[in-house]
Every structure is written in structure tokens, then in C-alpha cells.
Amino acid sequence: MDKLGINVGNLLVQIFNFLIVLVVLRAWVYKPLLGMLEKRQKTVEKGLDDARVAAEARANAEKDAAEIMSEAQAKVAQTIREATEKAEAVTRELRATADAELSKEREAAMAEIEMERERTLAELRGQVAALSIAAAQRLIGENLDEKRQHALLDEFFSGVKDGKIVVLEGSAVNGDKAEVTSALPLTQDEQATVRNQLLSSLEENAEVVFKVNPSILGGLVVRVGDQIVDGSVAGQLQNLRQSLR
């Protein structure tokens, strides 16, 4: 033991020294430091807790904000859509009204023009008849019975003689729609006569349309379906020219 250097005195010195160091460190180092560490840990935990709460609050706020935003956006979009639709509807309505008025006006104008034209032609017919009669008188040198003359002219123009359509004599027509073209507008009586005539030979409820075309010069052109009965002066002149050649 002595050679190892162990002796009770030095051993005791070391033990007491260690105990002194233990006491010193415990009082001055461990206690305050551990207390401080605990305090710090608590502070850190509290800080973390606060941070967590704050983060949650922020997340909630962000969610709310996003919701509000999307709602507002949806509302705005809806409003815009509604406004657009309304505007479109109004525009469409306006346009439709305008179109309708326009077309009405146009129709009215067209009808007026037609009427005017027919009236003019009707007047013309009288004058043409008078002129023709006068010319014929001068030509023939004799006075025809004025009534007879008028009947002749009427026949010439309308192709209707003694209540019968001249052109239709001897030819049979079939169909549900007839188109009658005259050089000058027909009178009401003549129209009625033509219609009656046509209806008697055509089917029931057949439609009869009257047209005016001065280029045929006189007589009537009746067109039923794909059949054309040409009783016009122009057509007869054409025939004459064909046969003379």
C-alpha cells in the first residue's frame, strides 16, 4: 500500500476535497443552472404554445379571408352575368321590335306601292282603251258601238269573254294552285269570273293567284302546276311569227 502511494491521510484529503467541490458545484452551479434551464424550457414551451395558437389563428383568418374572397368573386361573377343577360335581352327585344316595325313599315310601303301601281295601271287601262278606240276609229273610219268596243278591249286585256276564260276553252287543267298573269290588273268582276272558272275545273279549295305582267301585252297566261296555258297576245304573236316563217 505504501508503495502504491495509498495512505489513509491522502485518501481522506481527496474525499473531503471531492465533497467540498460537490457542495460548491451543487450550490453555485447546478441549482441556479437547472432552475434557469427549467425556466427557459417553460418559456420556450410557452413561446411554442403561443406560436401554435397564433399559427392556428392565422390559418383560420386565412381560411375566412379565402372564403370571403371566393364568395365575393362568385357574387361579382353572378352580377356581371345577370347584367350581361339583361343587357342582351334588352338588346334582343329592341332589335326584335325594331325589326318588326321595320318589316311592318316595309310591308305597308310595299303594299302601298303595289296598290299605287295597280291603280296607275288600272287608270292606264282606261286611257289605253280610250286611245285604242280612238285610234281604231280613225283607222277603221267607222264608229263602233262604244260598248262593243269596250267589251272587245276588255276581252283583249283580260282574256275573259262572256264570263269565260278564253284561253281555257278546249284545254283541261288539273292542280291545286293556279297562277293567272294578265297584262293589266283585272277588275274585281273579272277576277271573280276567272276564279270561278278555274275553281270549277280545278280541285276544291284550290288557290288562285293573280299577277300583273305588262310584257305579255294582253290576254291571260294561266299556270297550273307544271302546265302553262298561254293565251296571251305576246304568245299568240310568237305563234304567228312561227307559222309565218
Binding site: 491522502n10 471531492f18 458545484l25
Partner: protein
């Protein structure tokens, strides 16, 4: 990658080179001599300081001087911590911060090992660790084991060359008789068996104390187990023997603690003494670094073992 491969002329290598050259010159001028390797610490006083009644004469040894130095350093650190800890800060910084971190790491270690007994065990564990750490690291300070009284001895020694005044340099040539040897003022505290034995005794005895505190006097049934001796005769006898082995192992622990630390540190000292004579240039530096590492590890091991044994004492003997 490329950068690390580039050769750069740092300034540190020049310092190292300069010191190596200085060492070469110095060792040529003053040849190093092998110091006296003794297990026992040397007495610095010729006569005992005090004579205690039962113990006998008490000499001042050179390890005790180192002990006082260590105490002073620990005291200063403790005072600094004490004065600084008042100003509470959330963020640890500076010297106290480093110490705080050390304490925190140690406390977490204690808590993970000992659980609710950590508060009780921690001061002992940490103090042992810190004391051993400082004792081991102080040994590395230059001047330890090399500056001291020149003592005339009868057996082989070296010649003392006067440096002027009362200062001598003990150096070659070696003389067969009536030479001079150095009795150093300071010697590594861990190379003193008194120190390691004291720590081992404290560690083992405090383990028993904590065991009793945790389990009451039933703790001692671990060492003398007669509970099953009569209920199950054959296994009871075996239990008695194993419990006796436990008791023996406690004494083995004392010896193991003592000689583990002492052996590591003393081996380091011997290694240093021999290397610094044989290869005085550069090699001692590497040994010094290795000693630093060993010192840290041994301190940690001593502390950890204390902690583990104490934690085991609190948990009690696992009943079959």
C-alpha cells in the same frame, strides 16, 4: 470537391515547422532525461504538515498541489456562473452558455437513464464527471511532471547543471550513483491512486445510499438473499450464493473504478515520459492529443458508470 484538392499554403504549417525546428534545437541544447516513474506521488515536504492521531503523518504530495489548482479553477468557474446566472437570458451565450449546455446535456442523460431519481443522482454524477474531466485535462498543461525540486539520490540519476541562482537543469550525462532527479511540483491528479480510490469509494458508497433511499433496507437483501432459502432449499442456496457474488462485485467495482482511471492516466504519463525521451520531436504532440481524447473518454466513462450503477440501485433487484 475541386476546391479541397487545391494546395493552399496556410500559415499554420509554418508555425508547426518552426516549433519542430525549435524542438530540435532545444533538445540538442538541453537533452531530455527520463523522469522518475513512480506509482506513488512524491512528497514535497520533508516532514509531515500535521500528524493526525490515527492516520499518522500527512505529507503534502505533488498531486495534492494539482488538486488545489483544480479546486481553484472549479471555484472560479462556479463563481462566474453564480454571478452570471442572476441575469436571466433566454439565449445562452458566452462561457456560461457553454457550461449551461454541458449541464443540460448531462442532465438529459441522467434523466433518460435514471428517470425520476435523476434529481437526486445528478449532482453526484455531474460532479464526478467534472472533477475527473478537470483532473485529466489539467495533466496536459506544460510544466506538469517536469518542474520541481532537484533531489540528490543515492542510486542512479542525472547531473544537475546550474542555470544561475537556485535554478538547475537536470540533464545528461547519467551518473550511476549520487545523481540528481526532479521531484515535480505538479503531477496529474488522476495518476494518484488516492484520488481514484476516493472517487471510486464515493461512487460505490453513494450507490448504496441511493439504493437504500429508493428501496429502504430491503436493498441489502440484494447482497444477502435469504428470502428463498427455506421455501425452495436448492434454489435458495443458489440465490444466496449469487447474492454473495453481488456483494463481492461491489468491492470489485471499487477496484475496477480505481484502476481503470488510474491505469489509463498512469499509462499516459509513462508513455509521455518515455516518448519524450526517445522521440522528443513532434511525437509527444500526437501523444498529447491522444491523451486529451483518453482524458475525455475516461471522465465520461467514470461518470456514466456511476450514473448507471446508481440507476440500477434505484430500480431494485429483478424478482424471479
Amino acid at each position: 470537391m475541386e476546391k479541397s484538392r487545391k494546395w493552399r499554403w496556410g500559415v499554420n504549417r509554418w508555425w508547426v515547422l518552426a516549433f519542430i525546428i525549435l524542438t530540435v534545437i532545444a533538445t540538442n541544447r538541453f537533452a531530455p532525461v527520463q523522469q522518475v516513474i513512480a506509482v506513488a506521488p512524491e512528497n514535497l515536504t520533508k516532514s509531515p504538515i500535521i500528524t493526525l492521531p490515527l492516520v499518522g503523518g500527512l505529507y503534502l504530495t505533488n498531486t495534492e498541489v494539482a488538486m488545489i489548482l483544480m479546486d481553484l479553477i472549479i471555484l472560479v468557474i462556479a463563481l462566474v456562473v453564480k454571478s452570471r446566472v442572476k441575469e436571466y437570458t433566454l439565449i445562452a451565450k458566452g462561457f456560461t452558455g457553454a457550461l449551461e449546455m454541458l449541464i443540460e446535456v448531462l442532465y438529459n442523460l441522467a434523466q433518460s437513464t435514471a428517470g425520476k431519481w435523476a434529481k437526486k443522482i445528478f449532482p453526484l454524477f455531474a460532479t464526478i464527471l467534472i472533477v475527473v474531466l478537470f483532473a485529466n485535462l489539467l495533466k496536459l498543461i506544460p510544466g506538469f511532471e517536469s518542474i520541481g525540486f532537484v533531489e540528490e539520490v543515492e542510486h542512479a540519476g542525472y547531473t544537475a547543471v546550474s542555470l544561475g541562482g537556485n535554478w538547475f537543469n537536470v540533464t545528461t550525462p547519467e551518473v550511476a550513483e549520487g545523481g540528481a532527479v526532479v521531484v515535480p511540483f505538479l503531477r496529474g491528479l488522476s495518476t494518484d491512486l488516492n484520488f481514484t480510490l476516493a472517487l471510486a469509494l464515493i461512487s460505490v458508497i453513494m450507490t448504496q445510499v441511493i439504493g437504500v433511499q429508493a428501496q429502504g433496507f430491503g436493498y441489502f437483501s440484494k447482497f444477502f438473499n435469504v428470502r428463498t432459502l427455506f421455501s425452495r432449499p436448492i434454489f435458495g442456496v443458489m440465490d444466496l450464493f449469487t447474492s454473495l457474488l453481488e456483494a463481492i462485485s461491489e468491492f470489485a467495482k471499487i477496484i475496477s473504478f480505481t484502476f481503470r482511471l488510474f491505469g489509463n492516466m498512469f499509462a499516459g504519463m509513462v508513455l509521455m515520459a518515455i516518448i519524450s525521451v526517445m522521440v522528443p520531436v513532434f511525437a509527444p504532440s500526437a501523444i498529447m492529443l491522444f491523451e486529451l481524447f483518453i482524458g475525455l473518454i475516461q471522465a465520461f466513462v467514470f461518470g456514466m458508470l456511476t450514473l448507471v450503477f446508481m440507476a440500477m440501485a434505484t430500480q431494485g433487484h429483478a424478482e424471479a
